[in-house]
Symmetry: C2
Subunit: 257 residues, 2 copies
């Protein structure tokens, strides 16, 4: 017989009850003192069990309020359509995407000049420490922090396209601005990873324990060389990505996607 520690039993029972629907998304769990009595355990043991569920992303807690079952509404991002190679969207693909889902987008924006990190330099095929331009977006949906997006341009490119380094928005979109100056993106290399947020990321995206981030790194290429590197950091609990590959006429037929 494999005896589980008491705090795991607490977590297991509550996890099952949540899965059962005894505590639907948004519902509040019994208070710690109620659970102490129910499980005949000390407060710390109960808290230990609850913190397990928190770190699984099932519940969250707030001082003075209690523990609440989290609800999972996800936003789907089509990475193969997001910037169509043949029909680059104007201005802001993100705004279009969010608005068409009936949500209210909002973003803050800044531009910086800084030395390229190893990670960026690698992808842009420049020497680490070379100056690069960073255009940084912090994005919200209905006032909830959603993702951050950092796009780096190599300095050689900025020399010929100075508006990249200017703090303002580029009305027609950076892709079009560059295309008009003879820099055409013909391909992308996408990398996708998942990990727990750094404290900085947790602050920007307002995520507590138990929520991973989804990292999407897109390196854009002209026919000759890499011209930009975009790192998007998503809240893992609110976002999903997808790619369409090959012939998917059978998919769209019966499903008004």
């Amino acid at each position: 017989m494999n005896k589980q520690p008491k705090y795991r039993q607490v977590a297991d029972v509550l996890r099952r009850e949540i899965a059962n629907g005894d505590f639907p998304p948004g519902a509040r769990l019994p208070s710690e003192s109620e659970l102490q009595q129910r499980f005949d355990a000390s407060r710390n043991t109960v808290r230990n069990g609850l913190s397990l569920l928190v770190s699984e992303g099932l519940i969250s807690s707030s001082q003075g309020l209690g523990y609440e079952v989290k609800s999972h509404e996800v936003f789907e991002l089509n990475a193969s359509k997001f910037e169509n190679l043949n029909f680059p969207q104007n201005g802001d693909a993100y705004n279009t995407n969010v608005t068409s889902a009936g949500r209210r987008p909002h973003q803050t924006f800044r531009v910086e000049m800084l030395p390229a990190s190893e990670e960026i330099a690698d992808r842009l095929k420049v020497t680490a420490g070379t100056k690069a331009v960073l255009r940084f977006c912090h994005r919200y949906v209905d006032d909830v922090p959603w993702s951050t997006q950092a796009t780096y341009y190599p300095s050689w490119l900025v020399d010929g396209s100075p508006r990249l380094a200017e703090p303002g928005d580029i009305e027609e979109g950076t892709t079009r601005y560059l295309a008009a100056r003879g820099i055409e993106q013909v391909g992308y290399f996408d990398e996708i990873a998942a990990r727990m947020p750094t404290p900085e990321e947790a602050r920007l995206l307002e995520i507590g324990a138990g929520v991973p981030v989804l990292l999407w790194t897109r390196t854009g290429y002209s026919a000759e060389r890499p011209i930009r590197c975009t790192i998007t950091t998503f809240r893992g609990d609110l976002n999903r990505m997808n790619y369409e590959i090959g012939d998917l006429t059978a998919r769209s037929e019966n499903e008004p996607q």
Copy 2:
């Protein structure tokens, strides 16, 4: 002045020292009692701080041994090449992939018949509860659990291709087996998500706190309809995915990928 709680200070200091390289990957942290003295804190407070770092995926602990800084070796999976639409690889794309990286692959395998869950039924465009065939792989690299892969086939497809439901391996690969029977995959729909593992996933993949899973759901289509749905569950700390889109001749030029 924003006073942080003591356990956060403990975590912050140690996090910085790890980032600094004072404790390189694989190194052991000072013991809890040493940290108690250093930070003039109770054991529980020190443990609280350490558990923060554990849940960030920075360190791990084992009874009798201590806390160890985790090292991050990642395996990169090219999802756009993994099963090439035009040149389907034979047998086992996974084996090829791992072996070519100089690692030793190993997998267990089983076949089941079960009612399709809502999630699967949706993607296969069948009614939830309809029978489906599940071919399940549990994959290891150098004896470390790496990923699980569950492929579901709709029962109408199995009727004409009975070997799918047989427990043995399909020598030439399921894709080729199906193609030979007139079922050709012409497109894929990929979905990617990240979340914390369920207890079951944590058990199969042997992951502790602080490691998310990367979920890759690939639905394969013939010209007429979906013919399979594959859900791959990766350890987030050991895997990264990538996609190549468009013309990337500029990428491969200077880089022997």
